[in-house]
């Protein structure tokens, strides 16, 4: 089968969505299909530009290539799913959340001007058309499916995907709490640093790069090495950091999906998250696979201390998480997508 995987790409930015698209291409190729990743740069500002970008996808003709038909299109994100194809499958990682749950909040984009309000409605209308014409809509998490239901009255089947392929392993805890994330305000890594300020015994290792790095480093400046920023690391180093950690901290606001808990679990580590984290709560269950607390530094500090003092429980919860994560495989995803 000839399959086009369609995913937008923000130039010079690489995150979970890009990894997922690459892995999907690899998984489909692994099953013997002829697969191509089709991508268009995405810029969503200012104002109505977001609609131009969606329109670019609409003009792309993927019905055939080089005189031979393309049998199927799998689109993963707004606005890639605006592409036209008679056999389009939408596997939604993200809608354009600025038009939905972020609207009129701190992470929103649209002001109260009539033009901004109408642009927001146009995004909603585009989603209705683009997802409405798909043969099948999957969502990567219950959280994403619920939003599709709530905002667009679209029924999506939940189909989580596995995290990136790392040389996962489990090792004895060296007592630090690991953060694996883009250094972005919405990821709330500052909560973990504040927790370290409150609890001198708490050691923190932060991986990743991003626009919030300078602010986070200045927050941690007075902590005398209690918090270590290691930047972007290669796969081997990342697997090693996971393996030797006590637990993994992951607490963005109402995240769509979040691969980090899966990666933590595959390393046999429990996850510390917050009640408002969204998607991660589908697999991080309090005192079963990790600790779920209010988004409050003191509570996060208490959770980390508890895990440090109860190593057997931490191991057991990490193990329970591993059993969940191992059930999510690319084979199952490919079966569903090509059903």
């Amino acid at each position: 089968m000839r399959i086009a995987v369609c995913a937008p790409q923000v130039p010079f930015v690489r995150g979970g969505a890009e990894l997922m698209a690459d892995d999907l291409v690899a998984a489909l190729r692994g099953r013997g299909h002829d697969v191509e990743l089709v991508t268009i740069p995405f810029k969503w500002y200012p104002g109505t530009r977001v609609l131009d970008q969606a329109f670019l996808w609409r003009l792309v003709d993927l019905t055939e290539s080089d005189g031979r038909p393309i049998d199927r299109v799998v689109a993963t994100k707004f606005p890639a799913y605006a592409v036209r194809h008679p056999h389009k499958i939408a596997w939604v990682l993200h809608q354009f959340r600025q038009a939905y749950d972020y609207d009129r909040g701190g992470l929103g984009q649209f002001s109260e001007s009539p033009e901004d309000r109408a642009t927001r409605v146009a995004v909603e209308r585009l989603d209705a058309v683009a997802l409405g014409e798909a043969r099948k809509v999957y969502a990567t998490s219950r959280n994403v499916a619920d939003r599709l239901r709530r905002f667009n009255a679209i029924d999506a089947e939940v189909l989580p995907h596995p995290p990136q392929a790392l040389p996962y392993r489990t090792a004895e805890s060296e007592g630090y709490v690991l953060s694996v994330n883009r250094l972005d305000r919405a990821k709330r890594i500052d909560l973990l640093i504040e927790a370290a300020k409150r609890e001198p015994s708490l050691r923190v290792v932060i991986t990743g790069e991003g626009p919030d790095r300078r602010r986070l480093e200045s927050l941690a400046a007075e902590l005398n090495g209690q918090v270590e920023f290691v930047g972007r690391v290669d796969d081997e180093r990342l697997a090693d950091l996971y393996a030797r950690s006590l637990a993994v901290f992951y607490a963005p606001v109402d995240e769509d999906f979040g691969m980090v808990p899966y990666e933590a679990f595959l390393s046999g580590k429990p996850v510390v998250t917050t009640l408002d984290a969204g998607g991660p709560l589908e697999i991080v269950r309090d005192r079963e696979t990790g600790v779920v607390v209010a988004p409050d530094a003191a509570e996060i500090a208490r959770a980390a201390v508890y895990l440090g003092e109860h190593a057997a429980e931490a191991r057991a919860w990490g193990g329970a998480g591993k059993a969940i994560a191992e059930r999510v495989t690319w084979d199952a995803c490919v079966d569903a997508l090509l059903d």
Binding site: F55, P114, R117, V121
Partner: protein, 403 residues
């Protein structure tokens, strides 16, 4: 975004005033709304919203405001002949009436209008308004149109309206614990609420009820609402020997109406001819989960078959109505359950308010968004020598990117 809201408001005794009293607080939770006052200067706003109904006393000033500044029209009635006659002939402006008739029917319309003005023809808004709706003059001023039914949407399009149109259901009143009025009873108790006139098929209802009562002697009919000027309910009841079986009440306040409705076993709301209107009484009845009998016309026909019993307006209307009363009384629970579920699903106030906000946001800013996107598409196309961008515009419209 700021909306200038034009509507009759309580204490005006109109269904549209009740409608606005229900909708406004929900809208205000979502956007800035300033209510226009009759006789005052129109408020400054990004978009104006006009609730238009057929009563010239309640809506004349709103039509005037619409003529001053175009905006989004909520068309509560499709037939507006009475409104137009009241705001033209009623203000000694026969020429404007003739223009409206001509807009609708061309030269023939103008001639008919002349016949009315010269007293050579009966007053069309009293005798056959449904044949001459005169809504065109309102549609011409609408930058967007909100309707409650497919029936009105279809007619508006057929009348040549080609602007944005949103079909938004009539909102339902949130249900609170209700006590059934203790002073009315019947086995079953059948209720009919609202202004009583020929359009509401009261003669047919009375005839059907009289027959129904012969096999159900405990049955009583509760008729609540003011009667039309030339409609003598009392005489009709006497003639049918129904003075015992029917209880009459004039206009009652909202709270009392709810408790009376709650006491009924079956509710009836008939209509013919229809002016394209919805009915607040029907929405109330459905929300209460009461079995309901309606005429099979206009918006009423669009109600779900499992929730209401629909009586065709034909030669067998009275017989069918009698059978429907019996069915409704017998299957009250299942009909009422379906009715309640339908209202929860389609007429929930937050859902209706969200739909209004979407429509108003598009009406206020949609043109600017479409222009901006189309401009950039055309500009990019022109730079590479493509001057016919209609195909591109069509593709953008098909995808919902522009309207």
């Amino acid at each position: 975004m700021r909306v200038a809201y034009h509507s009759p408001m309580p204490p005006s005794r109109s269904g549209i005033a009740d409608y606005s009293a229900l909708l406004l607080p929900a809208l205000r939770e979502r956007i800035e709304v300033v209510v226009a006052q009759e006789g005052s200067r129109a408020p400054r706003a990004d978009v104006a919203l006009y609730h238009i109904g057929n009563d010239p006393d309640a809506h004349g000033w709103i039509l005037d405001a619409l003529n001053e500044r175009r905006g989004v029209v909520v068309l509560h009635d499709y037939v507006l002949h009475h409104l137009i006659a009241g705001t033209t002939i009623g203000r000694r402006n026969g020429r404007a009436y003739l223009d409206a008739m001509e807009r609708e029917l061309g030269v023939a319309g103008r001639l008919l209008g002349l016949g009315v003005l010269d007293n050579l023809l009966p007053l069309l808004w009293e005798t056959q308004p449904e044949r001459f709706p005169l809504s065109g003059v309102v549609l011409d001023r609408a930058t967007g149109l909100i309707v409650h039914s497919g029936y009105v949407a279809e007619r508006a399009r057929a009348a040549g309206y080609d602007g944005p149109l949103w079909r938004i259901p009539h909102p339902a009143w949130p249900m609170t614990a209700l006590e059934a009025a203790p002073d009315v009873s019947g086995d079953p108790l059948v209720g009919c609420f609202g202004f009583l006139n020929m359009n509401k098929r009261i003669p047919q209802l009375l005839e059907a009820f009289a027959s129904f009562r012969q096999s159900n002697p405990g049955a009583r009919l509760l008729l609540v609402g003011s009667a039309g000027e030339r409609f003598d309910v009392g005489r009709r009841l006497e003639r049918l020997g129904l003075t015992e079986g029917v209880q009459r009440m004039d206009y009652v306040p909202e709270e009392r109406m709810w408790s009376l409705m709650a006491a009924c076993d079956v509710l009836v709301n008939l209509r013919y001819p229809t002016m394209g209107e919805t009915s607040g009484s029907v929405i109330r009845a459905l929300a209460l989960g009461k079995p309901l009998v309606v005429s099979d016309v206009g918006w009423f026909s669009e109600l779900p078959d499992d929730a209401v019993l629909k009586v065709p307006v034909d030669d067998y209307e009275v017989t069918t109505l009698e059978a429907a009363l019996a069915l409704a009384a017998e299957h009250g629970a299942s009909l009422g359950g379906a009715a309640h579920a339908y209202v929860e699903r389609e007429h929930a106030l937050p859902k209706v308010a969200d739909a209004y906000v979407r429509a108003l946001e598009l009406a206020a800013g949609g043109d600017a968004v479409d222009d901006a996107v189309l401009w950039r598409i055309a500009e990019a196309a022109a730079e590479v020598g493509l001057t016919d961008t209609s195909r591109l515009a069509r593709a953008a419209s098909d995808a919902g990117i522009i309207r």
